[in-house]
């Protein structure tokens, strides 16, 4: 019976603790709702003061008051306005962030232990970094942020550097993106696109010469994702022992100069024993429209893979000589090849009609 009594006392204690927790949670919720209501009331006033400032008013008394009592709201309003304006008004907003000590506040935030605080600080800096006075405060902070454990912070810093970093810092972003996760590579790669040509001078060729297969594949994927013409020489990689390297090289061939070496590499890819490599090569050959690839593309129709046959047929259908070859293939005995050729010609017919 004493055990039962002990248990009952424990449960009552626990119930009391839960009741206190509930009361606290309700109070927090209630306070949060009140705060939200207050913010909804203050936000239009902040926006009005900000609009007056952007319109040329130089008295900062009202805005200083908001910076003291509603710093988060003011910061959000400045960042939102900053994204929607340009020219001298944008410059004024950058000056305002410096005048109201927001930049110093962000610089303190980047050292916070809590990732949410660091995120907020880096995000704000990344958005305002194109203002020269803000940039003077930043120093090496974005480069340090590239090694942060938080993914979003790394992305913000890469974006910031891609927008207004030095050539050395951009190379550093590229090198780090090769070591980072595929997700980060994808996200950062997009930011690096505007520096693709500069990176192709030194950083990309160095990565392509790397003895590590992963680095080579990552660099090739990054270059393919830029989807623009690139001054690179990659013909040797078409004979790489790793199939993934060969596939990515074939994909990249459509973006590099059509030199005799690259055309030769493409033809070697079309004859590659690996169907994935041949498929990527067929796709690239179709886009480049190389006449000497037509016999090899025609042979791809008969290699026993429906996917390769469809890709090769689609590639052939992109030029008149290829269409002629396809018409011949519709009459042969191989059902897979003739079906692929027929379907590709039907697509051409539909495209012409439309």
């Amino acid at each position: 019976m004493s055990a039962v009594t002990g248990l009952a006392v424990t449960e009552i204690g626990w119930a009391l603790l839960l009741a206190v927790s509930l009361a606290t949670a309700m109070l927090f919720k209630s306070a949060g709702r009140k705060r939200a209501a207050l913010e909804a009331k203050v936000r239009p006033e902040i926006c009005e003061s900000l609009a007056l400032y952007m319109g040329g008013k130089s008295d900062l008394t009202g805005l200083r008051g908001f910076a003291k009592f509603h710093p988060q709201l003011l910061q959000a309003a400045i960042l939102e306005s900053h994204a929607n304006v340009s020219g001298s008004v944008r410059e004024r907003l950058g000056d305002l962030a410096v005048e109201l000590y927001l930049v110093e506040h962000w610089l303190e935030g980047v050292h916070a232990r809590h990732p949410a605080v660091r995120r907020q600080a880096y995000s704000a800096m990344a958005r305002m970094a194109d203002h020269h006075r803000v940039r003077q405060f930043l120093g090496d902070v974005p480069v340090i942020g590239l090694r942060d454990a938080d993914e979003q912070i790394r992305l913000d810093c890469a974006e910031l550097i891609a927008r207004c970093g030095s050539a050395g810092q951009i190379r550093e972003v590229f090198d780090l993106s090769l070591e980072d996760t595929p997700l980060m590579r994808l996200l950062v790669g997009h930011e690096l696109r505007r520096h693709a040509w500069a990176l192709c001078a030194e950083a990309v060729p160095r990565a392509l010469r790397s003895p590590h297969r992963k680095t080579v594949v990552a660099a090739l994927k990054l270059a393919v994702s830029w989807e623009c013409s690139l001054p690179l020489e990659v013909s040797l990689l078409a004979e790489h022992p790793d199939r993934e390297v060969r596939i990515e090289t074939m994909r990249l061939l459509q973006f590099v100069p059509a030199t005799p070496e690259h055309r030769g590499a493409l033809q070697r890819g079309l004859g590659d024993g690996d169907l994935g490599v041949a498929c990527a090569a067929a796709s690239a050959a179709g886009r480049l429209g190389i006449p000497e690839a037509i016999p090899l593309l025609t042979s791809c129709l008969r290699r026993g893979s429906a996917e390769l046959a469809a890709t090769a047929a689609a590639a052939l259908s992109m030029n008149p000589a290829g269409c002629q070859a396809l018409e011949e293939q519709t009459r042969i005995d191989d059902p897979m090849a003739s079906k692929a050729a027929r379907e590709a010609l039907e697509d051409v017919g539909k495209a012409v009609c439309s």
């Binding site: 009952a8 919720k29 979003q152 994808l186």
Partner: protein
């Protein structure tokens, strides 16, 4: 008969001890789950969505849906899947032995015409009759197949899928338009070790006692089965979750044998057998069901579907626990206990306690008090789940709604949930 009373009391006390031990264990897992969910919420970000949408490096995803009929709800569900924000995604609708009238509805609604796409023979599935595409585009493919079960339909979808990733959504799944962008992130982050991802969302505030009791059940399932079991690397999808898996992994596992829950358990076992690191990621997806989607008892259908999924999983894998690692020795026994043993033990303890009380009041009082405390412990566990969730998730509810959910633990603990189960079975 009085001689039997001590034995009855022994049984009652034993049942109470087992139930209390289970409740205490559940509480521990609930607390771990709340920590895990808070951690994941803090870490989640939509910062890269804009780039993921545009990049050619983002892999394609095939979304498989198996609508039960051609009702307006099913058509709306498919339209919502078509409206998902993603760079390259296709929706594969598998119709299981549809009638001519149903097929006519689908054809008219989506302007279906015969497609060139033919299914591969990667996985065993019921024979496919026709493949249709919508207006010549491959963004929507409708497959009709001869009568088969859910696994057949899902496998038929995988056979037809063009993307390297497969998302599975059932008609009770609630999702936001960015759900695929959120799901693909963990798989791109660590493609070698993460074998899948599933979503969770906080349900909208329930009205009425039945809705609140269902919310409590969903909450506990989410906190222990998805959040808590992540601590042992055995995270399982919560009810109504959208699940994203790699197509090659599905082929290696020889496809679906039942629903997604059974598939995820199987994938854990397979990865363990291969001796490689593995993880299923839990991804927060705010529930943004549009107002024109029917909200009639939304949770009830999800919970019903989940119970059926748990039954299938236990039927398929219940006897092979030792080979399944943490899923085998933690998740499956816990599901088995919750689904079958707990209701039996509670009912038996109540009946035997009442019998003992009638026969010998004096001797039975301590045992019945213990029984009362056992039920009270269950109520406290539910209340704790509400508080933990409040701390971890911070759902957008009013203080009144929070209090109503908290106090709904009392009728739920006193057996209201069994009344709900009975009602569901009759339905």
């Amino acid at each position: 008969m009085p001689a039997m009373v001590p034995w009855i009391l022994v049984v009652v006390v034993s049942a109470c001890v087992v139930l209390m031990a289970a409740d205490l264990w559940e509480l521990l897992v609930l607390a771990l789950g709340a920590i895990e969910i808070a951690r994941r919420r803090a870490r989640s970000t939509d910062a890269g969505n804009r780039v993921l949408l545009k990049s050619s490096l983002t892999p394609a995803v095939s979304v498989i849906a198996v609508p039960p009929d051609a009702s307006a709800d099913s058509l709306l569900f498919i339209r919502r899947l078509l409206n998902l924000h993603f760079g390259q995604h296709e929706v594969l609708v598998v119709l299981n032995d549809p009638s001519a009238a149903e097929l006519a509805v689908w054809k008219e609604e989506f302007r279906l015409e015969p497609s060139r796409r033919s299914p591969a023979t990667l996985l065993p599935a019921a024979p496919v009759r026709n493949v249709f595409s919508s207006g010549g585009s491959d963004s929507l493919l409708v497959v009709t197949q001869t009568k088969g079960d859910l696994a057949d339909s899902l496998n038929a979808g995988v056979n037809l899928a063009a993307g390297p990733y497969i998302a599975v959504a059932d008609s009770h799944t609630r999702f936001s338009e960015s759900v695929l962008l959120r799901l693909i992130c963990p798989l791109l982050r660590d493609p070698e070790n993460i074998i899948g991802a599933c979503t969770w969302s906080w349900p909208s505030a329930a009205r009425g006692i039945a809705g609140r009791v269902q919310t409590l059940e969903y909450l506990r399932t989410l906190l222990w089965r998805s959040g808590g079991l992540s601590h042992w690397n055995a995270c399982l999808p919560p009810p109504g979750s959208m699940v994203l898996l790699h197509r090659d992994t599905l082929v290696t596992a020889r496809g679906f044998r039942a629903g997604t829950l059974a598939m995820v358990i199987h994938l854990y076992a397979l990865a363990r057998a291969q001796g490689r690191p593995y993880r299923i990621e839990l991804v927060p997806d705010p529930d943004s069901q549009p107002s024109n989607v029917p909200l009639r008892e939304p949770l009830r259908e999800r919970l019903l579907q989940d119970r059926s999924g748990v039954r299938d999983a236990l039927r398929l894998f219940g006897s092979r626990l030792p080979n399944f690692g943490a899923v085998g020795w933690v998740a499956v026994p816990a599901m088995w206990f919750g689904q079958y043993v707990r209701p039996l033990l509670e009912a038996a303890a109540l009946v035997l306690g009442a019998v003992a009380l009638v026969r010998n009041r004096v001797e039975a009082v301590p045992a019945c008090a213990l029984l009362g405390l056992t039920f009270a412990l269950r109520i406290l566990a539910s209340m704790t789940a509400v508080i933990l969730n409040e701390a971890a998730e911070r759902p957008d509810t009013t203080p009144g709604e929070l209090a109503a959910l908290f106090f709904s633990s009392i009728p739920e603990g006193l057996g209201y949930r069994y009344a709900q189960v009975g009602k569901r079975r009759r339905l």
